[in-house]
């Protein structure tokens, strides 16, 4: 029998092998189709495709009776079960599917089994189907146990829930297996001769499957569970019945081992260990017998050790100490136990018991022995590595005689897993375990180097430096030592680099001095190092780094100083000779400086030329590193630079150049995307950002929106998600305004709503909330037609302004500003009513805003509504002093009057507009608001004319329109207020139509 894997799987695998051989050897089930048997046999031999064809033929053949069709379905379910098992067995992380997907595969097969059983109770294969279903449930449960142990549970599932499910599946399997067992038992009783032996084989297999399901259920239930205790009691009794037939066979040993484990699982340690010992104690004289029972005996020892180590001291018994006596016996009876995977696994539990009994040194020695001997078996190797990891729990590494190589591997794995504390402990163990200078040369210095890397990864730069300094100081004492010499050519550079990183974090001058000194020392001590950069290169590098550090950020910094530093860095970088190993990376830095200075065309050309140029082959690591860095930078620049140029063209108003620039960037991205993903850090985010910007720049707003939608759904917390959402929000807003200019109001509203939603998404992730943003968002939702949200955000903004106002001294300038903003929100809220054409509700509120004082209001409104012959005195004395409204109020009220006109309202509109025009400061005349008032004045007179038919009113409309024409202001007005010309033309047309001269 091939050495099986983990305990339960070992057992099941052994049974599966036996079951497969028993079942294929047995005659075909009476009554089932021959085609099914053929397909089943083919699938067992790996010919799944052929088997599937046969099963599908059974289903699809029109002549197939329902029972055969059902058999075909059942057969496909068997294949589906195999597929699920295969996925469940996948351990390579990149290929492994998430647990819920694997469960889905099991469930799909299970549903077919369950359906077949339910609908074909009398079918000859019904019982077999129950056995298949039981095995599927066992496989699913085992897989889930592995998921629990490996931390693969999905976030929505707790371990307790998973265990509960596992117990449930085993429970169902027990029921299904019991039916099979009864049938097999009945067959066994009825048969004789060879048939009886075959029947006994089948019975044994089913029975042992049932025992394993009971064990699985008991292990999954929580400690102290009454159901588990009862299950074990029943198991103990059933075991006695099992023994009547199978006593003296290897099956008895497997059953005894399971019964022992089950008893331990419910806390009956004495009974459980007693059963396990009964198996472990066997020591046949015949080598054949010994070989036959070796697997089960070693599993028994392993289980004794595991249970003892897990239980510790209980009820007055020191179980680990007790178990050590069993292991002494194992060593005596099975002196070559370390030659097999089973013996090695048992030895690991022996080590656990040694450690629990206080003998840490012996435990360490044993685990290391297993790790070395078991290297060829993936399961033993994994278990040994885990056990070694347990030895270094706690600071300072392992104590005892440490094998440096083994612990170096433990450290490497922990470092890969990101468990830096464990990695550091492991590498410390390596150093402690190096007893000779030769071992230090082979492992010790590397371990120090790795310790430094672990601290560096946690941004603990001083500690990282100390670890590298340990190597440096050792080398300074023994400069002729070859290994140290080679080591410090790299670690010496890292030491200086790490000090430099420390300085950049602390900004401490003393650290800067130390960093510079370290680099000088490195240059002096290792002139032949690959890492060496000459004085010119260092100088250029420093000038470049200093320049980019001056980049203004958050309104801090001087743009002029920054640009000057960049300009100064370029010639120094360009001076580096082409023979320098760092030449490529310095070239990329020149391009970077050019890009930052806005000389994007030059930067992009440099990038394109470098990327296209053939590179001479090299084996020099320094040159390779330089090229890799330059490659990443140039790839980035080839896109960034193009986008920057396009944005600059956009700002200048050269739309064609901008679109061409974005298109060029998109094309370059498509060409280099694969390489960018491989070479550039955080490439995914960069590519998303570039693509979004380019799609927007080329007018493909909808496509860009779709892209951003996918990005923010997949990774809402990614660093660039908010930026992209804001960007697309702005793009949708601009697209909406274009529709507005074309008077395509439906599209305008749709795009505004989309823009509002994107901006809302950003706002929800921004703290603290800003009332200006809230007000703006309210306006966006209003434009988008979602008045409910608009109202909500405007109200929130208003209360925030009011709260801010109350925080300032009464009557102060700051308080007035906040109160004005709050008032603007009030007006915006009223405007929502206007937008919803609820003019009758909106107008009185606007009139309140126009004249706050209730007494004065009536008089003002009465005058405004009376006639259009306002005198200067009335304006100066009676109206303007009493009017509180802002221009915004004027705008909204006159607009409402004109949309819900009556004679009085239009008179009031004309008068208010006149007041607005008369009070407009000179410096804002001929701007969009003033132009709006002018046109509205004419429109209001025209509206009034429609009511009064007074030539006077019409005349004024005509006069205003003529004035616009005569002064030649229309083209300029059209630029300031798009659509102004169209409105003027309409005014003229209406005048013509109305016969107004």
């Amino acid at each position: 029998m091939r050495a099986p894997k983990n305990p339960v799987r070992r057992f099941v695998l052994a049974l599966t092998v036996a079951a497969a051989s028993a079942m294929t050897a047995a005659p075909a089930m009476a009554g089932g189709s021959d085609e099914f048997d053929l397909a089943d046999a083919l699938s067992r031999r790996g010919y799944s495709d052929l088997a599937r064809e046969i099963f599908e033929t059974l289903i699809n053949d029109p002549k197939s009776p329902p029972a055969r069709k059902a058999e075909g379905q059942y057969g496909l379910a068997i294949l589906a079960h195999s597929d699920a098992k295969r996925e469940a067995g996948q351990r390579v992380e990149k290929l492994r599917k998430p647990m819920d997907q694997v469960h889905k595969l099991f469930d799909e097969a299970d549903q077919v089994f369950a359906k077949f059983i339910e609908q074909n109770g009398a079918h000859p294969r019904a019982l077999e189907a129950k056995l298949s279903r039981a095995k599927l449930l066992q496989d699913k449960a085992e897989y889930t146990n592995i998921c629990i142990a490996s931390g693969w549970l999905p976030p929505t599932m707790s371990e307790a829930d998973a265990r509960k499910s596992v117990a449930g599946w085993f429970d169902t399997a027990i029921g299904l297996l019991e039916e099979n067992r009864k049938k097999a038992e009945s067959d066994e009783k009825k048969s004789d001769g060879d048939a009886k032996l075959e029947a006994q084989d089948r019975l044994a297999i089913v029975w042992l499957f049932k025992f394993s399901s009971i064990l699985g259920k008991v292990q999954a239930l929580p400690r102290g569970d009454a159901g588990a205790a009862k299950a074990v009691d029943d198991l103990n009794k059933e075991y006695e019945d099992f023994l009547w037939i199978y006593s003296g066979t290897i099956r008895e040993l497997w059953a005894t081992k399971m019964v022992g484990t089950a008893n331990c699982a419910v806390g009956k340690m004495s009974d459980g260990i007693g059963y396990l010992r009964a198996v472990a104690a066997l020591n046949p004289e015949s080598p054949e017998d010994k070989a036959a029972i070796a697997d089960v005996v070693f599993e028994a020892f392993e289980e004794i050790g595991r249970q003892a180590a897990d239980t510790g001291r209980k009820d007055g018994v020191d179980w680990p100490k007790e178990a050590l006596k069993d292991f002494d016996r194992m060593a005596k009876n099975w002196p070559k136990h370390m030659d097999s995977a089973g013996g090695q696994s048992a030895a690991l539990q022996w080590a656990r018991c040694l450690r629990a009994a206080g003998n840490a040194d012996a435990a360490l020695a044993k685990v290391q022995d297993v790790a070395k001997r078991g290297e060829g078996n993936i399961n033993v190797k994994t278990a040994a590595a885990k056990a070694l990891g347990e030895m270094i729990q706690g600071g300072g590494g392992a104590t005892g005689a440490v094998d440096p190589k083994l612990f170096f591997q433990v450290g490497q794995q922990a470092q890969r897993d990101g468990d830096y504390r464990k990695a550091i402990s492991a590498f410390q163990s390596v150093i402690a375990g190096c007893d000779t200078p030769e071992q230090m040369d082979e492992w010790g210095w590397k371990a120090w180097d790795r310790i430094s890397d672990c601290y560096f990864a946690q941004d603990r730069f001083y500690e990282a430096f100390l670890a590298l300094d340990a190597i440096e100081q050792a080398w300074r004492k023994e400069k002729t030592r070859t290994a140290l010499n080679d080591m410090t050519k790299e670690s010496g550079y890292k030491r200086a680099f790490t000090l430099d990183r420390l300085f950049r974090k602390t900004k401490d001058k003393a650290d800067e001095t130390e960093a510079k000194r370290a680099m000088d020392e490195f240059e002096r001590d290792h002139p032949d190092s690959d890492r060496l950069a000459g004085a010119a290169e260092r100088n250029a590098d420093t000038t470049y780094r200093d320049a980019i550090a001056l980049r203004p950020k958050d309104s801090q910094g001087d743009e002029g100083v920054y640009r000057a530093a960049l300009e100064a860095a370029i010639p120094k970088l360009a001076n580096i000779d082409k023979t320098s190993k760092q030449w490529d990376v310095f070239q990329s830095r020149i391009a970077d400086c050019l890009n930052r200075l806005g000389r994007t065309a030059e930067a992009v050309k440099m990038a394109d030329d470098w990327l296209a140029a053939p590179k001479a082959a090299t084996t020099d690591r320094a040159v390779e590193r330089s090229r890799a860095t330059a490659n990443a930078q140039f790839l980035t620049l080839s896109i960034d630079g193009r986008i920057a140029a396009a944005v600059a063209a956009e700002k200048k108003g050269d739309a064609a150049a901008a679109v061409a620039g974005f298109e060029s960037a998109l094309a370059t991205l498509a060409k280099n995307e694969k390489e960018i993903r491989e070479a550039v850090n955080a490439a995914d985010r960069l590519i998303d950002t570039w693509r979004t910007e380019c799609l927007i720049g080329t007018g493909q707003v909808d496509k860009a929106d779709e892209l951003v939608d996918g990005i923010i759904k997949a990774a809402p917390d990614a660093p660039n998600s908010k930026y992209l959402a804001a960007k697309i929000g702005a793009a949708l807003d601009r697209a909406a305004r274009v529709y507005k200019a074309k008077e395509a109001m439906r599209e305008f509203q749709q795009y505004m709503l989309r823009a509002a939603k994107r901006r809302e998404w950003v706002l929800e992730r921004t703290t603290p909330r800003n009332p200006d943003s809230l007000r703006s968002l309210g306006g966006d939702f209003a434009d988008g037609g979602d008045y409910v949200k608009a109202e909500s955000y405007l109200k929130e903004a208003k209360s925030m302004y009011e709260a801010r106002a109350s925080a300032h001294p009464a009557g102060s300038k700051e308080q007035k500003e906040e109160l004005n903003k709050a008032r603007s929100c009030t007006v915006d809220l009223i405007d929502l009513l206007v937008q919803q054409q609820k003019y009758d509700a909106a107008i009185p509120q606007l009139e309140e805003e126009l004249v706050r004082d209730a007494k004065a209001r009536a008089a003002v409104l009465a005058r405004l509504r009376k006639d259009t012959n306002l005198t200067k005195k009335e304006l100066k004395d009676d109206l303007i002093p009493k009017i509180d409204g802002t221009r915004n109020v004027f705008d909204k009220l006159t607009g409402a009057y004109m949309r819900a006109p009556s004679k009085e309202r239009l008179i009031a509109a004309v008068n208010l507009i006149q007041i607005g025009l008369d009070t407009t400061p000179n410096d804002v005349k001929h701007t969009a608001p003033h132009i709006e008032l002018t046109l509205r004045h004419a429109e209001a007179y025209l509206g009034l004319f429609n009511f009064t038919k007074s030539p006077e009113d019409g005349k004024w409309a005509r006069a205003i329109a003529r004035n616009l024409e005569v002064t030649g202001a229309l083209p300029a007005y059209e630029r300031e207020l798009p659509g102004a010309k169209a409105r003027w033309e309409k005014i003229v047309r209406d005048c013509d139509r109305q016969g107004i001269k």
Partner: protein, 396 residues
């Protein structure tokens, strides 16, 4: 081969009495242990003569006798009376199971002590102590051993009342046998009891008694324990001068004992104890300097002197490094101190106690720098890497 089932069935047929029985089956070592029937508790003038079981080591092997009884026991030797009498050196004894532990209360008490059940152990030992009154033929070992166990149970229970009761129990144990082989347990327990009662002077006296007993019994480990115990008592009471003197005594004693010791392993343990004591003195000095807010330079000088004396000892190098950090911290240079403590953590990782101490000090330095996040991170490291250390308890 015999199957387990066959083994069990045949063993069941063979078992015919309620006595302890171990059966070996051909081809294996299947051990069937039937439950030991409890001996009946008989109130008679003469207790049944159940043997004492003694386990000891001799020549590296473990040996045992269960065919006789102990007639005498003290810190020199045990006299085992049987058909073949034996004198067993007390220092070699691993375990004694007293035959006249009639109701098993003493062994139960020991088990419960090991499990940390103070209340249960107290009850058991009280039963054991009082059994001598009920059964006068039971030998005097209960006065000594059971009272010691009772005292330890009271210490587990804790509290001021427990201190008095523990002290009483230990006093009785000491009175029962002035040369007890468990004198170290008795006197250490007595010292702890006095501390519970907030009587450090009495505790120091118990430590002094232990030192004297160690000398008399030629047990250097007892003497060393006594000095270290005294040092800790003094340190806990804030008597730094007393603590330093005690650590000095311990250190000197350990050195001379190590010099005289022939056994290499024992020699190494004594040397390690000496170094630990020497470092203990330095940290007592440091605690005093913290309290006085001066004197940290002397602490540093002391540890540098130790480093010169002991060479490449990780514990000393680590301590010296930490001391450098303390000097800087005391002078207000928390940043500089942090770097010194980091050196202990990175370079002197073999000295676990000092690494734990450095993490504690790093947290102090970060607190001084106002770095809450850093402080929390260091305390978390301390609790997770060195959960059993006194500093981790302080971190809680």
């Amino acid at each position: 081969m015999n199957s387990p089932a066959m083994n069990r069935r045949s063993a069941a047929r063979a078992a015919s009495s309620a006595l302890a029985l171990a059966a070996a089956v051909a081809g294996g070592a299947v051990v069937l242990a039937l439950a030991q029937a409890p001996a009946a508790a008989v109130a008679q003038d003469k207790a049944p003569a159940r043997p004492d079981r003694v386990v000891w080591t001799e020549g590296g092997q473990q040996k045992s006798r269960a065919d006789g009884r102990l007639s005498a026991w003290d810190w020199d030797a045990l006299q085992y009376d049987a058909a073949r009498k034996a004198s067993i050196p007390a220092t070699d004894v691993v375990e004694i199971v007293w035959g006249d532990d009639e109701d098993g209360s003493y062994s139960r008490g020991l088990r419960l002590l090991a499990e940390g059940d103070g209340a249960g152990a107290r009850k058991a030992f009280e039963g054991s102590v009082s059994s001598r009154t009920a059964l006068p033929n039971i030998r005097a070992w209960t006065d000594e051993f059971a009272n010691c166990g009772l005292g330890e149970a009271w210490l587990l229970i804790g509290g001021a009342d427990a201190g008095a009761k523990a002290a009483d129990a230990f006093g009785k144990a000491r009175a029962a046998n002035a040369k007890s082989m468990i004198t170290d347990r008795i006197l250490k327990g007595a010292a702890s009891a006095e501390l519970l009662r907030k009587k450090p002077d009495a505790a120091v006296k118990a430590a002094d008694d232990l030192a004297a007993a160690g000398k008399a019994a030629k047990r250097p480990a007892w003497e060393l324990d006594a000095y270290l115990l005294k040092a800790r008592i003094q340190a806990d009471a804030g008597n730094w001068a007393g603590a330093m003197a005690a650590f000095d005594d311990a250190s000197r004693f350990a050195e001379s004992a190590a010099a005289a010791e022939k056994n290499e392993a024992a020699k190494a343990r004594l040397r390690a104890s000496g170094i630990e004591s020497a470092c203990g003195k330095g940290w007592a000095m440091c605690a005093k300097a913290d309290a006085d807010k001066s004197g940290h330079d002397q602490v540093r000088a002391y540890f540098d002197g130790l480093a010169q004396k002991y060479g490449e000892e990780p514990a000393v190098l680590g301590a010296a490094q930490n001391a450098r950090g303390k000097v800087k911290l005391a002078s207000g240079d928390a940043k500089g101190a942090l770097r010194e403590f980091a050196k202990t953590e990175v370079l002197h990782f073999r000295a676990r106690t000092e690494v734990a101490r450095s993490l504690w000090f790093q947290a102090e330095a970060m607190k001084a720098l106002g770095d809450d996040a850093g402080r929390t991170a260091r305390l978390k490291d301390l609790k997770e890497l060195f959960p059993a250390s006194e500093f981790a308890r302080g971190a809680d």
